[in-house]
Amino acid sequence: MDSSGSGRRRFLKHAAALAGVGVGAGVGAEWAARGQSAKAEGAAKPEVQAKDGNDHRELLRRGARFSVDHITYYTPLQDYAGIITPAQLHFVQYHASHFPDIDAQQHRLTIHGMVDRPLSFSMDDLKRLPSVTRIHFLECHANSSPMIHGAGNPNMGPPVQYVHGMTSCSEWTGVPLSVLLNEVGVQKEGTWLVSEGADPGKFSHTLPMAKAMEDVLVAYGQNGEPLRVEQGYPIRLLVPGWEAPFSVKYLRHIKVVDQPYHAWNEAMNHSVARPDVGGKARWYHYQFGPKSVITRPSAGLKMPGRGYVQITGLAWSGGGVVKKVDVSTDGGKTWKEAKLQGPVVPRAHTRFTFDWAWNGEEAVLMSRCTDELGEVQPSRAENWGFSDEESKKPQRSIHTNAMQPWRVARDGSITDAMFS
């Protein structure tokens, strides 16, 4: 399954994926359209030349990175509207060298372990069962990490796509995992489960049974179409509000177990040292806290001129519904409530807008999300457990939801003020 198909076929798929990358990495609607036409014609090389003088080749290089064990795309948050991320612009943080070539007719999901009736489900089986459709964000556990704010990392930094673009929001369709777990009959010792994907890296992750029974989907649809290959075709787990690694793609095996299984990624890659626990590594983060980011105006863009400009951005929380977003234009000294644009649904991106008149002076734009649990988006020092002094250094951190300041200069240029 991993490396079936001829070399040429695989090359063409890879080329198509690259053309798709042009889409994911582009800097605007114009780019999305170009990427699409390139893909439709089966062109092996994405168009990267632009007439506007910007080095889109550079942006393409940064937007999608390929290595022996990683493929990464970032969602162009600065360019899209509303709350739904087009599937082709959805972020990817993939832990293998190439996407798997899966025949959906042959694909099976098995559920075994501490169950009364181990079962295998075909795609036809899954699609005849009761389905639900829900809007949810997904976010990489490493999104917005201090390391990717640009300091010391030439691949990263503004625009907002490369700082916060590992979050996306889709309308997902699938079978509730609880339906399948009921079919197999979970035994009382089965308090956790561990899932495996059919990708070359066999991405695996543990999930507590209580969450599995609550709102997790085995998803086969995204924004009205089948899952894209880079999103886990033909099926993936969708664990609402939690770090995206829980949402295992190319899902093929679920084992019901009695303890966390510490798969390689979760035990190693997804743990991070915290100074407030003596440098030990925090692991098993679950839901994301309240978070928001202003997407326009934002670093790397330019102010359109003095006078009226709408500030807009996205807010979300793993804790449920976004209750309130406040915006500051003076670096957090004073705050005013932004408008929430519907729909406002639990564990989904929520669009906010704020009317502003720029007087041409320096300004620092920030947003702050409050969720239905009453939790408030933290400062970077609160977020990472560093002292304020320590937190000025861009160290690695994961599970980040700190407030993001953007500095507007008098000449209209906008920069990332997180570490300056």
Binding site: R117, L119, E183, M209, H262, K280, R282
Partner: protein, 189 residues
């Protein structure tokens, strides 16, 4: 709000498995799996190593396999490769930490030795994941544990001995045993 939600979650945890027990299948969809079929893919290895298959290997045997199949990316002895440094410390001298960000790839970082077996068996080597025999996986894991100073060169790794290997960074994680629901802290902690 927060309190009532936690309470709700606790109730769910108590009741969820019981619900599973009490309910019979509602839709009767899906094909039963035989024990034999399950053994063919039951290779997600937990920390107790219950799923580990038969087989054995030592560091000496592993050195040969590593040079052939792993060295091209991970470098000689897993120390100076183009990708993912697997070895910190040296034979007899395990690395005690603290682990820098780029040192978390080392086997010395893992809380359980079974993680190395599990991942190498299913996901390595990159061009042909799953192409190592079980003996070869035991041998490569033995080699990496030896080079990290965690076991002796002559120690035999098999389904019984591997889960018993005491990893030096076992207590490097918080919480020591993951729990759900998590401790009542802000969700971003």
């Amino acid at each position: 709000m927060r309190c009532s939600l936690s309470l709700l979650t606790s109730v769910m945890i108590l009741s969820a498995p019981a619900v599973g027990l009490a309910q019979s299948p509602k839709f009767n969809v899906g094909t039963p799996l035989s024990q034999e079929e399950i053994l063919g893919f039951d290779f997600m290895i937990g920390p107790e190593g219950k799923e580990l298959p038969a087989g054995r290997g030592t560091a000496k045997e592993g050195a040969v396999v590593f040079a052939k199949r792993c060295e091209v990316c991970h470098g000689q002895n897993g120390e100076r490769g183009v990708l993912r440094r697997l070895v910190l410390g040296s034979p007899g001298k395990p690395y005690g930490g603290p682990f820098k960000e780029n040192e978390k790839d080392s086997v010395a970082y893992y809380p359980y030795a079974t993680i190395a077996w599990d991942y190498i068996n299913r996901a390595m080597p990159v061009p042909k994941p799953g192409s190592l025999t079980h003996d070869e996986v035991y041998a490569v894991v033995a080699f990496l544990l030896y080079r990290n100073g965690i076991i002796q060169e002559t120690d035999v790794m098999d389904a019984k001995s591997l889960p018993k290997v005491e990893m030096p960074n076992r207590n490097g994680f918080v919480p020591a045993v993951p729990v759900y629901p998590p401790e009542p802290k802000p969700s971003w902690w």
